[in-house]
Amino acid sequence: MIRRILATIPVMVVVALFVFSLLYIAPGDPAAVIAGDQATPADVERIRQSLGLDRPFLIRFGEWLWHILHGDLGTSIFTNLPVAAMIAQRVEPTLSLMAVTLVIAICVAVPMGVVAAWQADTLIDRAIMAFAVLGFSVPVFVVGYLLAYVFALELDWLPVQGYTQISEGLWPWFENLILPALALGCVYIALIARITRASMLEVLQQDFIRTARAKGVGQTRILFVHALKNAAVPIVTVIGIGVALLIGGAVVTETVFAIPGIGRLTVDAILRRDYPVIQGVVLMFSFLYVLVNLLIDLLYTVLDPRIRY
């Protein structure tokens, strides 16, 4: 267990090293690109120094890592505010969106996959799998606009855009998040439904299911208690891997639904070529992703006691 937790440290160092070396991997001169087309050579030189591109790679990396360990993600070129503070300001909407999406997606996708496996090769199964392929193919912002157009503009059931803080009430907060969460969750639902079906199909063929049936356990109980419990490990794995999709999709979803979260921060930073902010966001989300997958790995030991670390 402790060894598994410690194993994330080298991964995080590699992530940090890779994010850091993007400055050097990128083709062309990053300092000139960030400075923009109207910049004077002096501006470019100033940015080069602030990025540390004028000093040796390893020394600069060491310094940078040291700062990160102290919670200092650098300073925005545009606003001169610390990046960590800028991210902290925007973290609530993004985490809310991701959490709501996660819950909705799991509640929708797992039953879908279970039913598809139970009804394998029938029309219901085909329909669910067709939806899954569609969910993979329609980009998140297309789903977003479609949902917003139908449920907000035409039917006027839900707010079109915007975000309400959770401190202003649970329902206003949730109401604003339903459409974005559905849009963002589409790919995720497709992914989880597919793996649930595949994993369930395998489990349903096993002897203990036949035994349960023979002793008269009801169909629902067989599917959702006996089978799902044993099919859980691959499903949970995919839920963890899919968080990467959620993170990438959140940037776009926040743009479509005008949610003032980290995604918007990123998009604004792109327009201003504010690289330290982008670097901070990438690093923070990557660490979040590593931590989520660490949690998932630890969850295995609960789901399947045969797995030990």
Partner: protein, 305 residues
């Protein structure tokens, strides 16, 4: 040769791990129609992809006008007989822009699939064959895979000038780890096969083993993977352009057209609608093709998913 060696040989073969039959031939029974009936996903996906390629290639001859021509007098016209998909905020014909946009999307999709496969193949082979490098390469790949691909592409695009070439490089870098891991897993499972052992025992050199025994077996899984990479690359390109980190606004790509329609989408939804439909249909077609190929090339995998 003693009797003992003769009797142990078949036992060895029996004890060997099951051979992953990764490349069973697709038989063309019953002509094209028969093929289409047995593999509907390949037929439909392939036909749609082909149609999209034709549209991209022959865009200038399909009743389009210059997709970048500005006409301030006829801004934001609704779709009509003269402007099939309407016009945008600058009076440009959306039908022409969408058709030319197919060129950008397909170029990005195919290039990323090709480049990521090539790079992934090389890294996977090195990792699978050069034992001491395996640990290092896989740790680096683990790290890269921990960065959500879209964010990695955004970070790279923020450091370079927007161009189709740079978009391709950025998305390729984000996709390399997945392909490398696939190739490495194929190499590692093949290395244990008796016929590879036999080839090594017979004195075959490593380059020849790779060429004769390893490469042919990577073709099927890599083709399937490449279609998925292609589909996701087209989505990522559209996303990058949509949020302003992709191809420069002067190039008509589907993501750019939608980005320009973003401000007006509540009153002029058709600007976003048409590129969205083309993008979704194209990605769906490539995904269908991938699913079909997977089912046809690797029946064992098909049963699992």
């Amino acid at each position: 040769m003693t009797d003992a060696t003769i009797t142990t040989a078949p036992e060895l073969i029996r004890a060997a791990p099951e051979l992953p039959d990764l490349l069973p031939p697709i038989k063309l029974r019953g002509g094209i129609l028969g093929f289409a009936r047995r593999h509907p996903a390949i037929a439909i996906g392939g036909a749609l992809v082909l149609a999209m390629v034709l549209i991209a290639v022959f865009a200038p001859y399909l009743g389009t006008v210059d997709p970048t021509a500005l006409a301030p007098t006829r801004r934001t016209r609704e779709p009509s007989a003269a402007f099939w998909f309407g016009t945008d905020m600058l009076g440009r014909d959306i039908y022409s822009r969408v058709l030319y946009g197919a060129r950008v999307s397909l170029t990005v999709g195919f290039s990323v699939a090709l480049l990521a496969s090539l790079a992934g193949l090389i890294i996977g082979l090195v990792s699978g064959f050069v034992r001491w490098s395996d640990g290092i390469i896989m740790r680096v790949m683990d790290g890269m895979m921990s960065i959500p691909p879209i964010l990695l592409a955004i970070a790279l695009m923020a450091l370079t000038r927007g161009s189709v070439g740079n978009v391709i490089i950025a998305i390729t870098i984000a996709d390399i780890p997945r392909v490398s891991r696939l190739v490495r897993s194929v190499v590692l499972s093949l290395r244990e096969q008796p016929y590879v052992d036999a080839a090594i025992a017979a004195g075959t050199r490593t380059p020849m083993i790779i060429l004769r025994h390893i490469l042919p077996n990577t073709v099927a899984p890599m083709t399937v993977q490449a279609t998925y990479v292609c589909a996701s690359a087209m989505i990522v390109e559209a996303i990058l352009s949509f949020i302003g980190a992709g191809t420069p606004p002067t190039i008509p790509s589907w993501g750019n057209i939608m980005a320009e329609g973003r401000a007006l989408w509540q009153v002029k939804p058709y600007i976003v609608f048409f590129p969205a439909v083309f993008l979704s249909v194209t990605v769906l077609a490539v995904n269908l093709l991938g699913d079909g190929l997977r089912d046809a090339l690797d029946p064992r995998l098909a049963k699992r998913l």
